[in-house]
Structures are given as C-alpha cells and as structure tokens.
Symmetry: C2
Subunit: 342 residues, 2 copies
Amino acid sequence: MVTRKEVALQAGVSESTVTRVMNGGYVSPSVREKVAKVIEEMNYRPNLFAQGLRTKRTYQIACIVPSIDNPFYGEVMQGIEEVAIEHGYVLSMYSSRVVNKSPGRSFFSGRNDAVILLSPGESRGWLLRDLWEAHMPLATFWDWETEAPSPSVSVDLRIGMQAAVEHLVSLGHRDIGYIGYMNPARAETDRNPRLTGFKESMAAHGLRTHPDQFQYTADRGSLDAGYHGVEELVGKFPGLSAIVTSNDLLAFGAIRWLEEHGIHVPEDISVVGCDDIAYSALSNPPLTTIAIPKREVGNHLMNLVLSLIESRKSHHDGSEHIQVPIELVVRSSTAVKRTNTE
Amino acid sequence: MVTRKEVALQAGVSESTVTRVMNGGYVSPSVREKVAKVIEEMNYRPNLFAQGLRTKRTYQIACIVPSIDNPFYGEVMQGIEEVAIEHGYVLSMYSSRVVNKSPGRSFFSGRNDAVILLSPGESRGWLLRDLWEAHMPLATFWDWETEAPSPSVSVDLRIGMQAAVEHLVSLGHRDIGYIGYMNPARAETDRNPRLTGFKESMAAHGLRTHPDQFQYTADRGSLDAGYHGVEELVGKFPGLSAIVTSNDLLAFGAIRWLEEHGIHVPEDISVVGCDDIAYSALSNPPLTTIAIPKREVGNHLMNLVLSLIESRKSHHDGSEHIQVPIELVVRSSTAVKRTNTE
DNA sequence: TTGAAAGCGATACCAC
DNA sequence: GTGGTATCGCTTTCAA
C-alpha cells in the first residue's frame, strides 16, 4: 500500500502538501501539478482508517433490511444506493434476522455514519434504543403504526387500503378477507394502518366484519405465509369473494393455493396485493396492488440521513417525516363479483 | 465515545491491561474481573478505525451483486451473511451497475478485507485487474464460461441445460427455443456454458438448430427482457413448442407475454427456467427450472474468502474451485408436446 | 504558500 | 503478569 509519506518523498514535498493537494488546500499551481502527477502514478489512495480515525467519518451507511429476498427491499436499496454513490457513500447491509440474534449489538457505530432501518419490526425495541444511545443518525422506512420514532419516510397505507376496499366494493364484493402480518405479542395494542384502513373502509361501506375474516401471519410477508394463510382463511370463512393482503408475496402465495384448489383468480375470488414489486405486473394473473414508489422511498431515506449527518445531529431533535404518495394499480387479479348461480 | 484510556483510568490499570482483557492476554483473574466490569459498565467498544489502522483488518467483506432486485442474489447473500456473522464479519454491498460507472474505482480496498463477486459480467475486465493489483482476496460466483480467474464456486450449467433439453425431448419436443443473456461485444468468443450445453444436447438428440431459435438479451436477466425476448423469438421462429431460458425471471416474463397472446403454458408451449428462485415454486404455473442451491453457494463463497484471509494470501496462487451440484426440478410449466390437429 | 508537530485510539513489543 | 512506548496513516493547527 502506498502512503502519503511515500508520495511526499517521491514528489519532493512535505506530507502536508500532499494532503492539501488531495483536499483542495492552498498549493501553488506548479507544485499541485507535480504532486498530482505523482499521486496518479503511484495510484495513491488515502487510508480510510487513518482518515476515519481523525475525522470520525466513515462514508458508509448501514442498511438494515428484513428478508433481503423480498424484491421490494432490493428496489428500495437501489434507491438508497443511487443517492449514496452520488455523495461518495457506500452501503453496508444487515438483515434484521441476524441483527436480532447478534451477540454484539451495537456493531453499527464506529463503522457507519448512519443507519437506515427498513420496516423496523421486532428489532424496534432494543435496536432503536441502542442507536439512540450511540447518537447514531437514523432514518426509517415506516409502514407501520402511525408515528415513527425518527426522521422517516412513510406511506399512508391506511389510505391505500381504503382504496383497495373501495375498488373491491365497486366491483360488487362484500365479503372481503384480509391476510396480513401481525406481531402476536402486540396484537391488540398495534395501530396497524393497513388493518385500520381496511376496517374503517369496510365500515364506511356498511360492511360488517367478523374476526374470522382476518388471517394474521407470523412472518412479515412471504409466499409461504400467503399460501398457508389463505388455506386457513377460506377454511374458517368460506364465503369470501375477495381478499386483501398486506404485501405482494402474500398475495402470490395465496393465489397459488387458490389455483391449486380449483379456485380461480379473479373469476372466483379477487385478490389485491400491496407493494407492486416488479414481478406483479407480469404475474399470472397480473396483480392488482397498492403501488409504493420504492426507488423514491430509497432516495428520500438516503437524503434524510445525509442531512442528518451534515447537520451533525442525530434524530433526537425534531423529526422530519416524508410521506410518499401511493396508489392502487388495477390489473387482472380483481374482477366483478360473480353472481352465484349455484 | 468511551476510549480504552478512560477504561484504564477508571479501572486503575494501564491501557495495555485493558487491551489484554479485551483480546484474551495474560491477566490475573482478579484484575481481569475488575476491568471486565468497568468495560461492561462503561459500555466500551474498541474503535474500529484505530483497530483497523493497526491490524489492517476490517472484518468487512464487500459483495458485488448485479441487480439486487433479482431474488436469486438475495438468497445467495443470505448464505454469505450466515457464515459471515458466525465469524464476526459484516457485509458491504455494491451493485455492479454503480461499480461500473464509479469514478473512484478501487473503493473496496481499505474498507474491506475481501470481496465476493457475484456473476461478474461486464465488470470483469478492469475490476478483476484492480482487485488483483490491490492484492485483494477475492472469490467469485461463476456461472459463466468455464474457467474462473479466482477461487470460486460455480455450477455446471452445461449439465443443467442438458438435463433441461433432455427433459423436453422426452416430452416429445423437437423445436426448442433458447432465450438468454449474451454480451453482444463478445458474442462469438464467449464460451457460455448454458448455450454450449443447450447446443450440445440438441445435437446429441439429432436435433438441428437454426440461429433463429436463439434469442439473446442485452441484460442479464429480467422480466422485461423475457417479455420482449419471446416476442421476438416466436416472431422469427413460430414453430416452437418449448423454450429454455437462462433464468427464472426471463421465463416469467416470457410466460406472461405468451399468456397475453393466447399461447398457454404448458399446453401450447413448455417453458423451463434456471435458478429456482423462491417464487418459482408458487408461480402460475409453477416453473420447471434448474435449481441452484443458493444458500449453499453463499456459504461456500464466504468460506472461501475466509480461508483466503486466514492464510493471508490473495487469489493469485492456485485457485480453489467448488462446484455445487444442480438439478432440474420438474413442475408444471412443461408438458408433453401437444399433437397438432390443425 | 509550505513544513513541522500534535494527536486520533488502538496494537505489539519491550522491559520490569 | 503488568506497564511504557513506538507506530499505524492521516488531519489539523500553528509557525515560518
């Protein structure tokens, strides 16, 4: 590895001068040129550790994502990366699962200038506290409950769900099921906006709901959960003509189970998802879903931590919240309720 | 932030002793206990930069992935993370796209102890050279060409493709199309194992192939590419009864286009994918595909760089290659060739 | 405009 | 067993 010292020696100047050339200080044009050439030739790169040791900046942002195999988060990550790169930052990645069971908990600080928390779920408790104590700049993507504990970007899923129900009702559906994640530990205290939106909207249309219409999943949203979720749901509430799910993966899993059991989507049952991952437009049938602008969410998140870092404050003093608009995109997994002729 | 110095002061010992307690050196039990308690109380964490500056170890591994939104790579990443965590390493993530257009190219070294390169494509050229020059330990996941330039884990897609063709032929198909990625710049020189396997197997069954049976995509594998790919393919070679694609996303895109045009899968055309991402088992129809054990690939990759790091050598001296077995999993996107009654 | 020197917070080798 | 100290490569005053 080539150090600043060597460059200085080679160029016949002091180390300080090399630093000035690197960081744009006062250097006479002639010297600057000479040094720059040596730097180029020797392919000199400042040592990030030495640099970090002095400046306390790492130019690295930690992203904590639940289940990286959900393409949704992949797309958000891309959004984050786009603006990160632009500002000379790189990303480190941790999946919630390992964060949760990690022995050394606060392994973010020291290595990262800030952390971005995507859909904080189980981790919420101690993680947020840890981060707080470490004065770590923090931004979250918040699609849960109504209030975020830090600068955040969020989407109003309450509205989203309302749009979904509205759509379904306009197609003649009245018996609508719901499949979604629910932390069993906090079942009753949770202010889950999707659930709230769903219930509110049902009520607004004069539709009563029975507990059996709801199927809660233990994991945050996966194909399997959807697959087994509908199974239970239609088992305990057979009359359904439509189902709303809290994410696309759930919807796909559900659709599969239904098809396997001769229940066709959308002919027999309409299904609407949430997220609008890339696949949803090309699935069979193409999925009606609540579209979240994922890249944009990522962009905002990164900008948020950027400004946090710039202003050298952590999230404690007055949190900024950005609400990105979402919309229902209607495709082919929903259709008018079929008139039962049985 | 609490430093070693402060701990030493508080515990009434020297800084060296604190270090020994941290790193398991010779310390009398009584002192060790005392110091440990202080460390605990003050919640002391060694500064990674200072540490890295001395030891030149970062305990961070860079992963370069093409299109993070392909769930395939997400699953491989999980595999990597599993063993990384176990050994106290964390991951940083770069998507090839940004790596490719990044100004400061060798931004891995100094920050990472090693890099894992997933499906090096376009980046191959300069990136590999850069890494080499930086003496950076490197492992690649290599599903392309036959020889990897570094320790690597690979899958024998030639065999995989043969199995796919075999399967199709046994179902009575003779006119089989191929959709896959091909770097236009190296079209003829590329030793693409999938393509090779496909052609060989076709030949082995006495099936002649026409250039029009092949559809090359510019991107590495996406829904869109598959969607537009089939369109062109069936346009120029209408007689197809089966299609092999070089990844599942391509297959799904293709299936969608076909369905939209009244061509049913598998009744009219059989489609086989490659990768077996989670979704493939639950898609509609469930996809026949070549299954790659993604977690395992990730595990191997991380173990590879781990041993590289341990032995303090980069990849230059004798590369280890691990070949993970793959297999065709037959689901419902393939069926016996329908006898044309038109 | 340039150079010297004091740290940043750890490690590792050396005495004691 | 324990403490002192040089050192890692850089940034940042402060003089010159």
